[in-house]
Structure formats: C-alpha cells, structure tokens
Symmetry: C3
Subunit: 139 residues, 3 copies
C-alpha cells in the first residue's frame, strides 16, 4: 500500500502529471509487485518561491522541471530500492519528458503494521498484502 | 507531539475539515494519551488531478471523498497502533460523514529525540512528554 | 541530501520565505556539514483553516506565525540532532523575525540507500556524500 508524493513547480498540464503518475506506478508494480489497483499519488504543485533549489546541485545544472518524489511503503532490501530507482528513472525519462538530473527520490519505510486501509488482506505469514507476487515478498 | 497531515480533494467546507480534525484529535488524545492542547494538523486540499487513486482499490469502490492521513509521532507498540486506527475510523465515520472505505492511514514513527518544540518538558525516565497519562507510556 | 518541508500560514512575502530558507539551510550546512549547493526546501503555504493548532500549546500562547519544519536526512546521533535544533532556532529567531514559541521541528531519518539523485557520489567507506566534511560523518 505505497503512498507517493510528487513535488513540482506549477505549470505542468494534467497530461504531464498523468504521465508522471503512470511512470512511477508502473515502476512500483514491476519492482515491488504491488497490485495494479494500489495507486495513491499526491501532487504538490508549488509556486517558484515555494520550491527552493540551487541552480547547480551535485555538479549538475538543475532545471525548472526538477521534481522530488517521496515514496512511502514497507521495508524492502537495498537491492530492491536500487532496482526501483532505476525503473522510476527509466520510466520518467522515457515517458514523461524528464531528464535524469530533474529527479530526486527519497523512500520512507514504515512497517506493515503502520498502514491501514479497508479491504486490504494481509498474508499472516508474510505480513504483506496477499496479492503481492510471491517472488516480490522480501525474504 | 504528534503531527497529522490530511490529504483530500477540494470542495470540503471549513466545517467539514474541523469535524475531521476533531475526530482525529479525539482519537489521538484517547489512545495515545497526549495532552488536549497538543494539536498540529495540516490539511492538503488537492485538485482532482493532484490526488490520484483508482476507482476500485482492494476490491472496494473508492469515492471522491477518499482521504489519506499521515500521522507522525513517537514509537508505539503494534496494539496501540491498532487501537488508534479503530478509534480514528470510528470517530471519522460517526462524526465527519465519511465511510470506512474513504480512509487510508499511515503512521510514521520517529523517536522522542527527533522532535523539538518550546515548552515541552520530557520526563527523563520515559523520554515522553511529562503530561502524557502514565498508563499510556509504552513500557 | 536533506529535504526540508516548511508548513506555514499564508501571508508571508517571498522575502520572508527566503529568510526562513536561508536560516534553515545555514544550520544544516553548519551542523551536518552538507555541501552549500545541497538545498531542497518545500514551502506549504496554508489557509488558516488548513493549519490547525491550539491557541495555547505546552503552556505558551502560539501566534499565527507558528511554523512547522519537517527535516528529512540520513541517521545522525542525538547530540547532532540537538545541535541542529539549537542552530535552526538561533538562526530563525535572529534572521527571520520568528520567536522560539513559533517553531515546531521534526526530523525523519532514512538511511543513505533510501535516497537517489543524479550526480551524488557516495564515499563507499562512510556511505555518505563524499563532499560532507570528514568531521561531520557520524562515527
């Protein structure tokens, strides 16, 4: 039951946002094995003065298109996180008109017991949603 | 010193929001034993395109009224989290015109040392606000 | 690669926000030793009804100017967190027209593997950005 927040500067069209949402969701479904219907994304569209970055960060010029993603879900191994970053970056640069240098990602993990939504059925053995693909459950 | 964020689609009245805030605050006071005056709630009112969900999630049709709560506070045992979800869901469905399927909850725990506010006095033995009811301090 | 979110009531000028951002950034650079160019701040400017506090909290009258900061970065020792709160409070009260009772701070730590940004080079020995001052790396 991930929740994703997307911080970006105003001026994007609804279609731009949909492309971003779809790109991130496809990566979460592919890498974490979450169900297709488990999407909860929030866009925070910010005035220029409300998203403060530096013109050059980590040696790269940053564009007005810079966005930050905060992804909330249950604990995963480091390799899974790395595969997820790779999939998100691939999808966003291919399908949403963004460049690698436009992206900043942060994952905030909280255990399964820290989530509640009506209808979710946890597998008592794994503690994860019973619909998550078996090969995606952290060992 | 909890902090609560409430994500919802625009169109709610100030009275609706107050009812939501009061319902959540009453649950936090009852279950966590926090002081009555310790309320810090943020509402993020979002355009439809900025809160992206699926029409059916976990087998249930989701309404436009769907809201997500992120609750930030110090570590609590799993039973306390479960009691809190139950109290929040009870209060919101009874007093704020919401249905169970409208609600998604996530708790993000951070230890006592990760909070600062002027005036808070920590009990050196428990590490919690000295005004929290003794029977609510995690053992 | 910290990310900072600032929650405040509407009515602040761009100059007010810049002063807040600069004060917080200076504290992060000084206490955590992050590079000068590593700034990512989000302001959430909220209607009065969307930032719900109590008139008196922890025994102190709270003003309309009350702000909350959520600071996201990698794990640090408790002494570092305390030094950071002290620096933030000092800078904000000296340079941004705020009072101590206006401030509420929360740190959410997530490990180095939970962050991704193009251009960041991690020191394989410490797991931290290679540009962080050596004496600021947690032991």
């Amino acid at each position: 039951m991930p929740m994703t927040k997307i911080y970006l500067r105003s001026g994007r069209t609804p279609e731009d946002k949909r492309a971003i949402s779809d790109a991130v969701h496809a990566a979460l479904v592919e890498v974490l094995g979450i169900p297709e219907d488990d999407r909860f994304h929030v866009f925070h569209e910010l005035a220029d003065e409300d998203l403060v970055t530096e013109p050059v960060m980590f040696g790269l010029e940053r564009r007005r298109e810079t966005i930050a993603l905060q992804l909330h879900f249950g604990p995963r191994p480091v390799e899974t996180l790395r595969a997820l970053y790779s999939a998100i970056v691939t999808n966003l640069t291919r399908d949403a008109g963004l460049q690698r240098r436009d992206l900043a990602l942060n994952v905030i993990e909280s255990p399964s017991a820290n989530w509640w939504i009506e209808g979710r059925v946890l597998d008592p053995e794994t503690g994860f949603d019973e619909r998550i693909a078996a090969d995606k459950i952290p060992g």
